[in-house]
Subunit: 240 residues, 2 copies
DNA sequence: TAAATAGTGTCTATGAGACATTATGTA
DNA sequence: TACATAATGTCTCATAGACACTATTTA
């Protein structure tokens, strides 16, 4: 026990060079029938003037008992800072960690990337430019042309890969529609994310399975349309 | 451009507290019909004397042009150091990043976890205790009882979840059999990983599909057995 | 020839994809 | 009533699970 105390004080890991660690966020939503990602314009070098993923440094404490914030908390904090949204109302998941030497030309930065799914009815409330930075939603199909800063293009692609893979065996699609939605609306979302239209009949079949499984329930009301209105559903709130 | 230079020198991120970053490895193989993980006994506090995942600090450079090693390289280096195996002959994939404040009682440590699959014919060559540390292979079903150091139990569970999920839609099972193998042998591996025996007929059906897809090919020779010997196959070497 | 294991075949249920058809609400 | 879209139904094909059966090699 004395032994342990002695060790704790003599521990020298902090004498070795340490990297900076950031969280970067791939914040996605659907606007105008396009899958869009929130980007911020860099106001400083490097990559000044280019678009980048929102993100920031993980807060680290220097004492053993006050070590700073958890990674997930850092991601939630950044989400809140960049969008103004309540993190509890947004799906957030760790994506991958990018740490190539030289990915930041200044110094060694390792970034833990997260992706977030924002329901489109909340997207308009995202205060574009939270802390006076320019920010906007971009069609994910267009970001390659923008020439993103750092390795952020790669991070966006990894996020798309992930959500496309998880789309049909998880509930994540429900975080890309408003609180209530119709079958055709959800079908369109799937089509947009996967980049190809879904068959109405086949999609409905899957949808009905989800209903039977209890992941969904019918909601009161109907959509105001110019033809036959569709029934309205909602997601039964408990996360997978 | 002058502007940029000025910024690079004045950049102050290094004045903020930074975490230590490590890579930890969940190195798996199959020994005696059990899925086993390589653990090392800690020789220092904290958790002195307890079993832990092998791992180590990511090497970080302090100059912008010499920033240290990539994360994947750090994982490969640790793998080589801990097992003596050629990393090019081992399947290695980033798993998840664990960074809860307090997970290391000494100071803030964020660890990027990787998992590795070692072919069982290579496992005996793993020099248990590479750098004079005690090391051994443990049945994954038993590690919970050992009381692993840090949050390593959680990391192992995440690795198992990952490989179980990827088992039937990727080629990873081929990294848990010797270079040549029979259908029953591969079937046993699947059964061991998933924790339940596979049906011989059904498994063979899947196997034949992989053959048709060109992921496998028949190899010369047969197994020496006490009854009817099975045909021998090998994996067509190109990674998914 | 018996034992053991490799290897084959069959029946059923499930889900995906393609596509035709019917139903229902609005203008 | 016409139009638009929601909703249903059908056919085919691929795959998984359960399980019965045949074939082949060794001792």
């Amino acid at each position: 026990m004395n032994d342990e105390k002695a060790f704790l004080t003599s521990y020298r890991a902090k004498d070795y060079p340490r990297p900076s660690v950031t969280v970067d966020l791939v914040i996605l939503t659907i606007v105008d029938a396009q899958l869009r990602v929130l980007l911020v314009k860099r106001r400083e070098h490097p990559f000044k003037g280019q678009w980048a993923l929102p993100g920031g440094f993980v807060r680290v404490g220097e004492s053993p008992i006050e070590q700073g914030e958890d990674l997930d908390d850092a991601a939630r904090r950044e989400l809140k800072e960049e969008t103004g949204l309540d993190p509890s109302r947004v799906y957030l998941e760790q994506l991958y960690t990018f740490g190539r030497a030289g990915r930041d030309p200044r110094l060694r930065v390792i970034t833990v990337a997260y992706y977030a799914l924002v329901r489109p009815d909340l997207a308009p409330f995202v205060k574009a430019g939270g802390d006076a930075t320019e920010a906007d939603w971009f069609d994910v199909a267009q970001v390659a042309r923008l020439g993103l800063a750092f390795d952020h293009q790669e991070i966006v692609e990894k996020a798309l890969e992930r959500i496309r893979g998880k789309l049909d065996y998880t509930n994540i699609a429900f975080d890309l529609v408003p609180a209530t939605f119709t079958i055709p609306e959800l079908r369109h979302v799937h089509g947009i994310v996967l980049g190809k239209p879904m068959d109405p009949g086949n999609f409905r079949r899957s949808f009905n399975r989800w209903l039977e499984e209890g992941r969904l329930e019918q909601a009161p009301g109907k959509r105001i349309t110019t033809s036959k209105p569709a029934a309205v559903y909602r997601f039964k709130r408990e996360r997978d």
